[in-house]
Symmetry: C2
Subunit: 121 residues, 2 copies
């Protein structure tokens, strides 16, 4: 079946959550949002492009930082209201310089920074 | 620092997206939503509990199906507006019976069901 980005389920703001996962290591790098055009552009260019809710503008990952995400695979979930992007990440995914945005763990009620270790699993 | 679920950033409906990832394989299983109580309950019980937007009720994963998610680790992202749950999944995570909800791939403009294979990466 031909994929049409307009058939996805977007929220009231016209956005769908997109999870970026490192295609080789499986690490979850970040979660951001796309609108229908961002989905289309990403599929055509293979350069991951989100919609920035704060800037209300397209946000091609790495455009200014050089920390690009090359699309390896795009998955749609069963409800068609979430996307999983398997990506080849250049440099850190997080604007803080961490490899992944999910560097804070909650352990025994405390927040712990994992930085680039993955010692909790 | 003590973790307080109230310090997370919730959307206008009081919800935060939560990504469930298999703690051993790294497979992304599903994305669902939590409110502040669901986060607290999950941390205390170690049984992943979401908020069902369609039913407007707590949804302890596997309560009826037996396909539970045991929390192994909880991560918070840099913006505090998304959660990553590393889980031990019993049975399939998806209500369709698939291991992961993300079983539909987009390849060369076509939708392809991957079922339980991961041949795209």
């Amino acid at each position: 079946m031909l994929f049409d980005p307009a058939t996805l389920t977007y929220n009231e703001a016209g956005l769908i959550p997109a999870i970026a996962q490192d295609a080789s290591t499986g690490e979850v790098l970040m979660m951001a949002w796309m609108n229908v055009e961002a989905v289309s552009q990403t599929l055509v260019s293979r350069r991951v492009t989100y919609w920035s809710r704060s800037r209300q503008a397209f946000w091609t990952k790495g455009e200014t930082s050089g920390h690009t995400q090359e699309l390896v695979a795009l998955r749609v979930d069963c409800d068609r209201d979430a996307l999983l992007l398997k990506v080849r990440q250049t440099g850190p995914a997080c604007h803080t310089g961490a490899r992944s945005c999910f560097f804070t763990s909650v352990r025994e009620g405390q927040e712990v920074s994992e930085a680039d270790q993955s010692s909790d699993v």
